[in-house]
């Protein structure tokens, strides 16, 4: 492995030690935040359809068996966002995050793959300001309120996957959901006789989970994925004081991958999550969610046809948290590519997505860009 690559991996690891987060959304202000997508740019470019099969996307632990050598993956993502709600048209919002990092490989001499990494579970980053006029001591006083949050929860996963025979992979993972958000509320008064008010609390969430899955290729060019995940009740603490619990969802996934020729791959993944279990624990509404992503990949380093792949995908997903009884949903379209270097020991994958979210009286549009670096020493 070139020395420069090793140095970069160390730097990336240090950088990823900062709180992980990813996209932010107006739909992430209520509830636990906006749910993250534990996907690499390659899987995202295929609408998430490759998620159940992608070894580097921590969705299906059985896919970990797909690592054939030590591999490090780091992802950076940026989004540019705007939304419309209640007559307000807000634009120019952007954020940059590190939503995924993973180190994986295969134990020598046995068909056992391993993976340790962290990904975004929920993101609770927002900054909202509101100006109003209130009557204080008989006089109109203009006040400006600002509510902000920075942080979210990360999903740290350790997974093992076994390949008992060709075409069958079985995997299991353990998860630690942990993270915190710095919540701040402030009010300033137009009348300087009133002191400004600011309160900052740190909300910490922690929980555990287990996951399992399998990949089965009944015939060449066809692969099926099944998986499930059970998360415990998460405990919430505000400034180290327990404040309650929230039921984290049970998840189930299924996927289908068809590869009629080496240069063409079509994959779809369906995921269901029982976020409604958290409904009694949250001030807003929480709904069960499902999402279906599908996409194709043409070419690629392993195809023998083209070193630079072209990936296209689309996704539909319902969103878990809403301020009303109307559940919001999201539609994404994605376009991506990648490039390998250093004898296929290094990979850079890129994806550009356009997301359309609506529901509960709001509409949101976002451009999302993600890039990953994969190093195989």
């Amino acid at each position: 492995m070139p020395r420069a690559c090793a140095v970069w991996v160390v730097i990336a690891a240090v950088g990823a030690a900062t709180p992980l987060a990813g996209q932010t959304s107006v739909y992430g202000i209520r509830g636990l935040g906006f749910p993250g997508r534990a996907l690499t740019p390659r899987a995202r470019a295929m609408g998430g359809g490759l998620g159940a099969f992608d070894p580097a996307s921590p969705l299906n632990p059985a896919a970990v068996a797909g690592f054939v050598q030590v591999t490090a993956v780091a992802v950076a993502a940026a989004d540019f966002r705007g939304y419309q709600v209640g007559g307000a048209d807000v634009g120019g919002l952007h954020a940059t995050r590190f939503p995924l990092m993973e180190v994986a490989g295969r134990l020598p001499g046995v068909r056992l793959g391993y993976s340790l990494g962290m990904s975004q579970y929920t993101d609770r980053s927002f900054d909202v300001s509101l100006t109003d006029t209130i009557v204080l001591r008989g006089a109109d006083v203009e006040v400006t309120d600002r509510s902000s949050s920075s942080g979210g929860a990360s999903d740290i996963r350790g997974a093992l996957a076994w390949e008992p025979r060709a075409g069958l992979r079985i995997g299991a993972g353990v998860h630690v959901v942990t993270g915190s958000a710095k919540l701040a509320v402030s009010r300033t008064f137009s009348d300087s006789a009133y002191q400004s008010f600011r309160r900052v609390n740190e909300e910490r969430v922690s929980g555990f989970g287990v996951s399992g899955g399998l990949l089965w290729a009944p015939t060449a060019g066809l692969q099926v994925a099944l998986g499930g995940r059970y998360d415990t009740e998460a405990t919430l603490e505000v400034d180290s004081t327990p404040t309650g619990t929230v039921n984290l969802p049970i998840s189930a996934l299924a996927g289908l991958e068809i590869r009629p020729v080496r240069a063409l791959r079509w994959a779809s993944t369906f995921i269901w999550r029982s976020w409604a279990d958290a409904d009694p624990d949250l001030p807003g509404r929480a709904f069960n969610t499902w999402e279906l992503g599908s996409g194709v990949e043409l070419g690629g380093p392993e195809s023998g046809a083209s070193r630079v792949p072209l990936r296209l995908g689309a996704r539909y997903a319902t969103l878990p948290f809403s301020p009303t009884d109307d559940q919001a949903h999201e539609v994404d379209v994605a376009l991506g590519t990648g490039i390998s270097f250093a004898g296929n020991r290094g990979l850079v994958d890129l994806v550009l997505e356009r997301a359309f979210r609506s529901g509960a009286g709001a509409r949101e549009r976002a451009w999302q860009f993600s890039a990953s670096l994969t190093v195989r020493p």
């Binding site: 940026a78 509320v185 505000v238």
Partner: protein
Amino acid sequence: MRRFMLLGMAAVSAGLATGCTEDLFAPGVGACPAFCPPEQVAVVDTMLLDAVLADSAYRGYVLPHEAGAMQLVADPGGALPTSRVIVRYLPFAERLLLRAGDTTTGAVLATDSFGIRVSVQARGGAGLELAFYRLPVTVDTSTAFGDLDPYFADSTRLAIVALPDTLTADSVTARFAADAFPTLDADGRAAAVGVELRAVDRGFVLLGSLEGADAPIVTRYVQLDSAGVSVPRVEGKLPAVDAFVAPDVPPPSADLLRVGGAPSARSLLRFTLPPRILDSSTVVRATLILVPAAPAVGAPGDTLHLLAQGVSVDVGAKSPLIPVAEDTVLVQRVAVPVGVADTVRLDITTLVLAWAADSTRPRSIMVRAVPEGGAFAEGLFGSSASPASRPAVQITFVPPLNLGGR
């Protein structure tokens, strides 16, 4: 290939390098309350009528000879207290330097004249005159108002200087003849003068004092002996004592809070605030409300300025005050015009916030006049013993906000 590798690393590193930049700020108009966080700021305003546990008034903090100014009041035939300024100067020299920077002195051969420059810091009324009188050099800070009556007579008057109605803050100079102080040598070359205000109607002036670094200065114009030749020279002297005296004022009523006057009075108030406000909430504004028992007394046209100041230790009358920056004083002081009986509202927000931050701080406030002791203006307010006019506290606060609480 190596070039591609470096290119890839550079691209992703650039992404990571910008990873800390974000702009999530968005106006919430239209989005709230549905898409705003559930935790919203609420503000409560309440009047605490029993917040003052106990209070007392004390007098004598700044005596007239310690004040930064000296007030002269004129009220011909009226009921207002009149006052007189007394100044005893440091002795003039027997010999003076002939030239600056030289040690050679010359004896004073003769005095040509005298001049006294006084600084007028404020005034009220029209047609005002300052009358200067010769006083015995025995005057000092213990001299009573009545003791001066024989010396404020036509026979001892040195000069009268008119104060133009356009003059608000400036200095004026009175000039006296060489024989203004006939016993100067016998008095050890010391001089003393008294000043009184004359007015067609009522009025007042505020003169600068030695303690306020704006002292009335006396100047002697003399002839010096310079090797047999008489040369003119000037000698200025600062006061050894300057003060203003007035008839004695009656002692404060036990049922009233007094602030200001000369000698100055202060009122100490001790508070109790509900823990739900002080300990659990965030105070954004606190106001001490003083209800006048009578209109503010003092020179007509004068204004009393009040300030609420914290004490570092509550030991009653001698409680040391927590220093306040001058610009803070200018912002927080409250003007009370003489003759007006409006309710006084003093901002005590910073003091209450300090109590909330440090439970060991005495929850006591001293209300005093600023500047203090240099004028007769005085406020009289109801105390905690006066049910109808007891002090109160109006507090605006934000109740506990449990961010993230479910």
